[in-house]
């Protein structure tokens, strides 16, 4: 697989190659502070994996980066552009970021091909034939060309999730956000999705992903970040964080994962 160049949208990446940077991001829901001054920078071609207990704010962070949630404080920059500036058009920002959800969220009334070509046609104004050709190229790469005319409910969970990833990829995003993309899948279907993510890594796609699959985190992560109390408590290479955690809470979390048989 090879990643297409982004279509020249947005300002050029800053010289240091930082694609995403979050500084002091805060987000609260009611009385719970989910993100409490969160800092993170993701370099170009880097794969950063977020781990942490359920409810530690991984999804919230990804939704804030994609501007689906408004931050309460702090700033987020994409390719050096301040995207949490209220004057910015969020639609233009989202066109440069792909987001894949735990529950796929394919559009049930559209065929696989129409799901994949909706944004290219309606947002990027690419004519149907060109959009479909591009979509078919991607679908063939992930072995789903024969499902192009099917509706999502006829596909297995793993196939649906791969379509969801393709749907995000045809927009040539600068950054791909993956939120526990295997959590809703039967164990035997997890592999096909993880293989696809690994292929994307070797293409050089910049990714920020949340996962409960520690084995997978080990394979793809350049950096693993453990979230606790709305911040990164510990981060480093997979070997450091997963193999030799320094913080008691990280150890506790990994222990529980080991006990539940997911490491």
């Amino acid at each position: 697989m090879s990643t297409d160049e982004p279509a020249g949208r947005g300002p050029a990446a800053p010289a240091d190659g930082t694609v995403l940077s979050c500084a002091g991001v805060r987000k609260r829901f009611g009385s719970t502070e989910v993100l409490a001054g969160f800092d993170l920078a993701v370099a170009e071609h880097e794969v950063v994996v977020l781990i942490g207990a359920s409810g530690s704010g991984k999804s919230t962070l990804l939704r804030c980066v994609n501007l689906l949630e408004e931050v309460d404080d702090g700033t987020i920059h994409l390719d050096g552009e301040h995207i949490t500036d209220p004057r910015i058009n969020p639609d233009r920002v989202r066109q440069r970021i792909g987001l894949v959800f735990q529950s796929y969220n394919l559009f049930p009334h559209l065929s696989v091909l129409d799901n994949v070509t909706l944004a290219p046609r309606r947002v990027h104004r690419i004519v149907r034939a060109a959009a479909e050709e591009r979509a078919m190229t991607w679908l063939s790469r992930v072995g789903l060309a024969d499902k192009a005319k099917e509706y999502p409910d006829r596909l297995s969970g793993g196939q649906q999730q791969r379509v969801a990833i393709v749907r995000a990829l045809v927009n040539s995003p600068r950054l791909l956000l993956l939120d526990e993309v295997t959590s809703a899948l039967d164990p035997e279907l997890v592999g096909e999705v993880l293989t696809m993510v690994r292929d994307l890594k070797s293409d050089g796609m910049t990714m920020l992903l949340a996962t409960h699959e520690m084995g997978f985190a080990k394979q793809v992560a350049d950096r693993v970040c453990f979230l606790s109390e709305g911040r990164i408590l510990e981060q480093g290479t997979p070997a450091e964080v997963l193999g030799d955690p320094q913080q008691p809470r990280t150890r506790q979390f990994l222990q529980r994962i080991i006990e539940s048989g997911r490491l």
């Binding site: 689906l68 792909g98 394919l106 049930p108 009334h109 927009n171």
Partner: protein, 286 residues
């Protein structure tokens, strides 16, 4: 997938099962036929044997009167049909517009939202007959230049009354689409309007087609109320026939025509409802 290979011959047990089921089918057809004939006989005897049956037959089922009034009633019915088609389209468009207005967020849209809410609250509560009288009798009373005809005013009354019901149906449909669908659309860079148009509304409309068709069926009957304001539709034509012949047969003729007109609509409604119920149970199973 199945059936591509030649199926193996059924086993002894399966052949027995099939034969049993065939016998059961024959039996139930016979029972159904028998009970239908019996009930028909009882009803016929009870009705034709009633002491006033001959008088009723003369004043409600006189073929001569039916034949004489049918042409006028049909002319009237043509007006009902045209009204139904126009009012259905009008009410659907108005309902959809109001439903979408109610979903808009942001201070700019506050007056639109308030208007939409006020409209649905008032017109779901107001009896159609009152709205009809106010529009067809009240508005011409203003003697404004360019006041539309009574038929158009009556049509407007139907559209705004049914538009309020349909707006609520559409709104329920829009709200039934899971927020994650909108999030998925927005995450792809679609604007609010594009998400609504390409993702939310198509799903919402599919879900509410059965209740909407029910509203159309009920509007089909209410179109006849326009006769109260004077235009000669099927019911008004029947009324004139009744007065001319001192006989109620024209009402029966008009009633039968309304039922005939409704049958295809009701059949379509039932079919669509069944299909969408099947689809939803398939969704649930997936």
């Amino acid at each position: 997938m199945t059936g591509t290979a030649a199926a193996p011959a059924p086993s002894e047990v399966q052949r027995g099962r099939l034969a049993y089921r065939r016998r059961q089918t024959v039996k139930s057809v016979l029972v159904a036929a028998g009970s239908t004939v019996a009930l028909g006989l009882i009803l016929t005897v009870a009705i034709t044997g009633a002491p006033g049956f001959d008088r009723v037959r003369e004043s409600f089922f006189d073929p001569k009167v039916a034949a004489e009034t049918l042409p006028d009633i049909l002319v009237g019915l043509w007006l009902n049909i045209r009204l139904l088609v126009c009012c259905t389209i009008g009410a659907l468009i108005l309902g959809l517009l109001i439903a979408v207005l109610r979903t808009l967020r942001g201070p700019v849209f506050f007056p639109f939202r308030a208007l939409a809410i006020g409209y649905t609250y008032s017109f779901r509560g107001a009896p159609l007959i009152i709205v009809l009288y106010v529009l067809t009798l009240g508005v011409p009373g203003l003697r404004l230049a360019g006041t539309p005809s009574v038929v158009v005013l009556g049509g407007i009354a139907l559209v705004i009354t049914y538009g309020a019901y349909m707006a609520e149906v559409f709104r329920a449909g829009i709200e039934s689409v899971h927020p994650s669908q909108r999030a998925a659309a927005r995450s792809l860079g679609l604007s609010y309007r594009q998400s609504m148009r390409f993702v939310v509304l198509p799903q919402a409309v599919r879900r509410v087609t059965p209740p909407l068709l029910n509203d159309v069926v009920s509007m089909q009957k209410d179109v006849g109320l326009i006769s109260l304001a004077g235009p000669i539709d099927a019911i008004r034509a029947a009324q004139i026939g009744v007065a001319e012949h001192y006989n109620f047969t024209p009402y029966i003729v008009a009633g039968a025509l309304f039922v005939l007109m409704a049958i295809p609509l009701i059949a379509v409604t039932d079919w669509v409802t069944l299909r969408s119920a099947r689809r939803q149970s398939a969704d649930g199973a997936a």
